[in-house]
């Protein structure tokens, strides 16, 4: 049970649920129709519980297919929830539809992984940024002024508003996506692998920007990534997800330095570090713990 396991890891509140949380997810289950005729539904999330407090970053780390992206999409209302509860600021939102869902966009926003497909290639940056403002009924002039401030906030030139996404690099596009998420002062931003498509040096500057924004505005992040070092850099607390279940949840320093669950240990030890001696130690530790046992069908290998 993720709840009981993570209990000792969080600030002492029972079942890992912190008092005064901004977002609470309890026993969330999501499934998709199987491929083919009469195929059984595929369960992607098998009862996930977590919470995010105001101004906090909760890192969610896992491998591809673990269901980490689905959690974010369920919170955003982009995939239907099968069972369980999502509570935002004291209100159940897992069944919110229509008008209520659209109102929620004021509070919950998103930065997607791929800065190339998350911006419509034929809309100018200004049009893209004013989209959430239009949704909230801003006037055209108000929206323009606000777009200018947003561009300044994410350190893009003011004339960017009139240009198309293809004129910008990946890192710059991701800044646009961040500006869009910030457009209406949300309280929670779901960051779905926001830097995994970026080069190393760009990645660092985008992460720094996100941290700075959080310090200034007190926004909460649900930060999804496959990269444990990015997660450690960004998060106050870390949840490790595997096969649709949270296997470990706790303070970032504890989870990323002394993980308890063997899967977290495998994630940690398998990620190579840019240090010749440090990496040798890490590699030897990984091979000692995992490879000797099950060569060729190791932890990560899922034979279909």
């Amino acid at each position: 049970m993720p709840g009981s396991m993570s209990a000792d890891r969080t600030a002492g509140t029972p079942a890992g649920m912190s008092a005064g949380a901004l977002l609470t997810v309890e026993d969330l289950r999501v499934s998709f129709p199987g491929k083919g005729w009469r195929a059984p539904r595929v369960e992607v999330l098998k009862g996930v519980s977590l919470d995010v407090r105001p101004g906090e970053t909760l890192g969610l780390v896992g491998e591809s297919g673990s269901g980490k992206t689905t959690i974010g999409r369920a919170i955003l209302g982009l995939v239907p929830v099968h069972s369980g509860a999502i509570t935002f600021a004291g209100e159940r939102i897992d069944r919110a539809t229509g008008r209520r869902r659209r109102e929620l966009s004021r509070d919950i926003q998103v930065v997607f992984q791929d800065p190339y497909t998350s911006l419509n290639p034929s809309l100018t940056i200004g049009d893209t940024l004013s989209e959430p403002l239009l949704g909230q009924g801003y006037g055209a002039r108000e929206a323009r002024a606000r777009v200018a401030r947003l561009l300044e906030r994410v350190e893009l030139p003011a004339d960017a508003a009139h240009r198309l996404p293809r004129e910008f690099s990946g890192g710059q596009r991701q800044r646009v996506a961040i500006a869009r998420a910030l457009a209406i002062d949300p309280r929670l931003i779901v960051c779905d692998e926001p830097v995994s498509a970026l080069d190393l040096t760009t990645q660092k500057t985008v992460l720094d920007l996100l941290l700075e924004i959080q310090e200034q505005t007190g926004v909460s992040y649900l930060f999804v990534s496959h990269d444990l070092s990015v997660i450690r850099f960004m998060s106050h607390r870390v949840a490790v997800i595997r096969h649709g279940e949270i296997v470990e949840l706790g303070e970032a320093a504890e989870v990323t330095a002394g993980p308890r669950h063997p899967y977290t240990r495998a994630l940690l030890l398998s990620a190579p570090v840019a240090d010749v001696n440090g990496q040798r130690e890490r590699r030897e530790a990984f091979e000692r713990e995992f490879r000797a046992r099950e060569a060729g069908t190791g932890m990560g290998e899922t034979v279909s």
Partner: protein
């Protein structure tokens, strides 16, 4: 809207586009002005003039009933084009909205609509039209409504397909999260994308509709008095032995109209592709990364061709850490690259250099990392060594020796002989690098039989052995599997087995673990290390991951914007980088950064 006028201008600059647009405009205008251009009654006949040639007031002569051909042509055009407009309107009204709904919402409506569409598409249009004449009478206008119904699937499928793919784009999700209503999302994001393909399809379908309609009229559907191009052709065909020239004018009118429509569609497509509004899929980025040189990332417009650099002297041999680096002195026997430059032909003519004079050596038994960010030219360098640069790319300068043989300028046949058994390749994306139509086994066996000239049985035995060597638990099962039946990590092992199959001496691995999850990555790195040791391979490892460098490499070359800025032992480059760029790279590594401290409730008060 400037974007739109841009398309129109581009269309008119397209020679075919201009010609077909002018031809169509002329035809439509002439047909609309029929009463002005030719004040006669299209049915007025004088038997005296039957088969008469051109004369004053009758520039095209007379038909078999002595009617003026030009007049009939003009009035016939009204019926033909009018009928096509009706069919088109019906098809658009039925096909576009239903396609939008089915594509955007999916669900039961999508299934039902698809079923109906499949039903309609199984009906041969001509047979149905002829049969409906029995029900609806022979008024061509009514039959055109039926025709519209029959061609509506063309629009439905087009719109549904595009909308369904746009619906999955992240920018549509972002619009939903931004609180936009569905109609607004459709108007902002979806219509924009389907607009152009619909216009193209309109031109194509009009051509088809005009052809089908003329065919019906040719068969005698329609009232005898109404002049139509098809009926004129029918009449001409009846007199084909006596006056074959009667076919000329209606045939020309029909051919010109449908031809102009199809050419216009082709030109429109070109004009739109020029603008590049085609929804930028995930692929485009990957392709940009691995194949052609990516467009300049900076907001600057397309950078001026860098070929100017070719003339300037190289900025000296990269600083190396120790004097023992082979680049300083004699060339390595296994792989030696000197002053390699790669250029691409630009679509508009001219060339652009993407690699500007790279020096690199790999000795037997050595793993050399080639590190850089996207667009640095590291993959282009690797492809040059293998001789597999994509279309338009070529080595324009320098020397590459593999096993002591110069491969720049080497005939393709001899170069091919080196690939596989002297130098082998491990690609980045495991899945897309296996042919989906063949089993894993046959993809291993085929090159071995070809390169090593061994029997099938021997090749199968060796393939199974290779699969075992790359630590696949059940070689027989994987041997018989298709690529889509195995996992990504497994596929990468298969590709490594394929690279090893002809016992190469040099391995060029292009980001071999980038597409894998970390745990699988660790296993594959371990596998590469083991095989390299056992076989004494030289490896050129292209990667952006400094952790992978630390894990595997003996030496490293750091590449940036087509140049190597620093080389040295892995230890030196990672621990005491000299070039500012290397320092910046290492500064961005988050490995050593301490974890973020615990959350403080005070943070919340800012909200």
């Amino acid at each position: 809207m400037s974007e739109r006028t841009g398309t129109v201008r581009r269309l008119l600059r397209h020679p075919l586009g201009l010609v077909s647009a002018v031809v169509l405009a002329a035809i439509v205008l002439a047909v609309l002005l029929a009463p002005v251009l030719s004040p006669q009654d299209p049915n007025a006949s004088s038997l005296r003039d039957a088969f008469g040639g051109p004369s004053a007031g009758h520039p095209l002569g007379f038909d078999s009933a002595g009617r003026d051909i030009l007049t009939r042509l003009l009035y016939g055009g009204r019926n033909t084009l009018g009928g096509a407009v009706i069919a088109l309107a019906v098809a658009l009204l039925l096909g576009v909205p239903s396609g939008l709904l089915a594509g955007y919402y999916g669900g039961w409506f999508d299934s039902a609509a698809n079923w109906v569409v499949n039903l309609v598409m199984a009906l041969p249009a001509m047979v149905v039209l002829l049969a409906s004449r029995a029900i609806l009478g022979s008024t061509v206008w009514v039959l055109m409504v039926v025709l519209g119904f029959l061609v509506a699937p063309a629009f439905f499928r087009l719109v549904r397909g595009i909308v369904a793919s746009v619906r999955n784009e992240l920018y549509v999700d972002a619009a939903k999260v931004s609180g936009l209503r569905d109609p607004r999302i459709v108007a902002r994001h979806v219509l924009l994308v389907v607009r152009a393909p619909i216009i193209i399809q309109v031109a194509l379908v009009s051509g088809i509709a005009i052809g089908l309609q003329a065919g019906l009229e040719f068969l005698g559907v329609g009232s005898g008095d109404t002049p139509t191009w098809g009926a004129m052709l029918n009449e001409a065909f009846k007199n084909i032995q006596r006056a074959p020239s009667l076919m000329l004018w209606p045939g020309l009118a029909l051919g010109l109209t449908s031809g102009a429509l199809v050419l216009l569609a082709a030109a429109l497509r070109d004009a739109l592709e020029d603008r590049g509004t085609a929804p930028a899929g995930r692929r485009s980025r990957r392709r940009a990364r691995t194949a052609a040189p990516a467009a300049p990332a900076a907001p600057a417009a397309p950078a001026a061709p860098r070929s100017a650099d070719a003339g300037t002297p190289r900025t000296g041999t990269p600083r190396s850490a120790d004097g023992t680096s082979p680049e300083a002195g004699e060339r390595a026997e296994l792989l030696s690259v000197r002053d390699l430059a790669v250029s691409y032909v630009l679509p508009g003519g001219g060339t652009r250099e993407v690699v500007h004079g790279v020096d690199l050596d790999v000795r037997a038994g050595e793993i050399v990392g080639l590190v850089g960010e996207s667009g640095s030219g590291k993959t282009q360098t690797a492809f040059s060594i293998l001789g597999i640069l994509p279309e338009g790319g070529r080595v324009c300068r320098g020397s590459v020796t593999v096993g002591g043989e110069e491969i720049v300028g080497m005939p393709e046949r001899r170069h091919r002989a080196l690939r596989g058994d002297v130098v082998a390749y491990v690609p980045q994306e495991p899945m897309s690098n296996l042919d989906p139509a063949f089993t894993v086994g046959s993809q291993l066996v085929e090159p071995m039989r070809h390169k090593l000239r061994i029997s099938r049985a021997e090749a199968v035995r060796r393939a199974l052995d290779l699969l075992d060597q790359v630590e696949i638990a059940d070689p027989r099962r994987v041997f018989g599997s298709y690529p889509h039946e195995i996992s990504g990590g497994m596929a990468q092992r298969v590709l490594i087995a394929g690279a090893m199959s002809c016992d190469p001496r040099l391995l060029v691995a292009d980001e071999p673990t980038t597409a894998l999850d970390v745990v699988v990555q660790a296993e594959v790195l371990g596998l590469l290390r083991r095989l390299q040791k056992e076989r004494g391979l030289g490896v050129l490892l292209v990667t952006h991951n400094l952790g992978v460098v630390a894990d595997l490499c003996d030496r490293v070359a750091v590449m940036r914007e087509g140049r190597i800025v620093e080389t040295g032992t892995a230890e030196q480059v990672l621990h005491a980088p000299r070039h500012p760029y290397t320092q910046k790279l290492l500064g961005a590594v988050l490995d050593g950064v301490p974890a973020r401290g615990p959350w403080q409730p005070s943070n919340a008060e800012v909200v």
